[in-house]
């Protein structure tokens, strides 16, 4: 280690220094050995220690030992673990010893996305936790937004994940504020209001403990209960879809956070992205019908489709990792998507589709390759954006 001065001389001027070398008792000299080894004492003290070492074998031994120990001090490496390592390590473990209680396939995306977000938060200081974030979504076909902070976003995830926790009989993170309402935004606003101070980094632990507990609990409630209804206030999703929905939200908001603090952040793995897109594609027909009933989408032209029969369809082609093709029935959620009745074809990247469904990309500006019925395409893109919420 390098030698250095112990600091400005002023405060360490010892009156004795003018009259001769500093004289210290043995126990004081011994107590100085650590500071001496670190070159963290006053020059006069260092001199006194060195003088002493010439005549005291015990102290000389210790001094040498402590000096060597200083050489072992190393600044901790800044460890940005490869986020993909988790999946690789866990998979190779589960191969050598298959789990008796596996994490259900439909909860795997949530498990992976919460772990990725937690790793992003790992090294955040106060500046990052309080960095402003704008939450964006679509409401009545208009872009909406709400300002919060990184900590506020984690609080939002905590309260909305809490809907799944509630359905599973776990504690509500909202506590006494829970009577405020059941929709994700009601709950989030209630949590923010109930706190006396804006959320801080302290929100990370309850969020992470709850997300771990959710993964653990659904592992034990696999089987028929994948269909347990989870209420979002004004609608319900079966548990397995709710867990996918939460994985989706976790990724979207992790990306919001990453943008706010200027960190890179990747989309989910192809396998998980595929499941998320599949959830959105499955939800689209019902959303289209709801919009039609409220005059927000064109009335079906050929609605005389019996349940389970093929109907007018849009081919949704998702490119890139996790991609695939989905035939979206346009006129009734009960109809079957049909290649013979395909009236339009849109193609876009998986992450772009998810950003559209998250309300982060205006439907008119989505980077979409399109052929066919323009009205059908418009309806589907607006329906996708309308699935977003705070």
């Amino acid at each position: 280690m390098s030698e250095r001065h112990a600091g400005p001389a002023g405060p360490y001027d010892d009156p004795k220094e003018d009259t001769g070398p500093l004289v210290l008792e043995h126990h004081v000299l011994k107590s100085l050995l650590g500071a001496w080894a670190l070159a963290a004492c006053a020059p006069a003290e260092a001199g006194a220690v060195e003088e002493h070492l010439g005549g005291c074998a015990a102290c000389a031994d210790e001094a040498l030992r402590l000096r060597e120990a200083v050489g072992l001090l190393q600044r901790p490496e800044s460890l940005d673990l490869d986020p993909g390592l988790r999946t690789r390590v866990l998979e190779s473990c589960l191969e050598v010893r298959p789990p008796r209680i596996p994490v259900p396939e439909w909860a795997a995306a949530y498990d992976a996305e919460t772990a990725r977000l937690d790793a992003l938060l790992q090294d955040f200081g106060d500046a990052e936790w309080h960095a402003p974030v704008r939450l964006r979504w679509y409401e009545s076909d208009e872009a909406s937004s709400r300002r919060t902070t990184v900590a506020g976003v984690i609080a939002h995830l905590l309260t909305v994940d809490g809907l799944v926790a509630l359905a599973l009989g776990m504690d509500d993170p909202l506590g006494d504020a829970a009577h405020a309402g059941r929709t994700p935004s009601d709950r989030t606003e209630a949590y923010w209001r109930a706190a006396r101070f804006p959320p801080t980094r302290s929100v990370r632990t309850p969020w992470r403990e709850q997300s771990h507990a959710l993964v653990r609990t659904v592992s034990f409630t696999d089987g028929g209960t994948g269909r347990l209804p989870v209420s979002y206030g004004d609608y319900e999703l079966p548990l397995h879809d709710a867990m996918l929905d939460r994985a989706f939200e976790c990724w979207v908001h992790a990306e919001d956070i990453a943008v706010a603090v200027d960190y890179p952040y990747e989309p989910p793995s192809g396998r998980h992205l595929h499941r998320i897109v599949d959830l959105a594609a499955r939800m689209l027909p019902a959303v289209l019908e709801h919009r039609r009933e409220h005059g927000l989408a064109a009335p079906g032209e050929r609605r005389l489709v019996a349940a389970g029969e093929p109907g007018r369809s849009l081919r949704l082609e998702i490119e890139g990792s996790g991609g695939g093709e989905w035939l979206i029935p346009l006129d009734s959620p009960a109809a079957k998507g049909s290649a013979e009745h395909e009236v339009a074809h849109v193609a876009l990247d998986g992450a772009e589709f998810c950003r559209l469904a998250a309300g982060h990309v205006p439907p008119r500006e989505a980077a979409v390759g399109q052929v066919g019925d323009r009205e059908a395409i418009r309806d589907v893109l607006f329906a996708a954006a309308s699935m977003s919420r705070m």
Partner: protein, 190 residues
Amino acid sequence: MPTSDTPPRWDRRMQQRLARGEAAALGELYDRFASLVHGLAHRVVGDEHAADAVTRDVFAHVWEHPDSYDPRQEPLRTWLATLTSRLAVRRLRTTETAALARGGPGTPEDLERTVRHASVAARADYIVQSMPAPLRAALELAYFQRRDYRQTALDLGVTDDEARRRLRLGLQLLATAGDTGAPPGFGGAA
């Protein structure tokens, strides 16, 4: 990451859940310890790819042999750190030996020296990580931030005597990293 569960209880429950074959427990174990394991491994093997491999070996070992950890003996963190160091040193020795056999530079004595340095560095790292926080804070100020012991005392709100004591004790703990035949538990620094 700190949780509301106290370590001994958390360690015991974790061991039981792993033994039961609960995949979710393995994920939680990874989330809590991966950066410790990877960091210690990296210090020994010195490259990212090899550190990834050691990390995989460590978690695979725990998952395959959950009963090899006894919560009554030591904290899970200590046990994992020891395991990591052992597997990392083993991997370093294997790759260095292979390089030597292929006619790489150096002698068997150089190899022994490399392996020994690496394992002492890993132990030192672990001791710093797991020593009582007040000692670590004092070393942090005096060494990394170049404060002398009086400034360190001021920063920590303790007496000069106490600052000197902490610096000396911290270094004494650290010095045990170089002891040959040290107990595998890294001198009880946890």
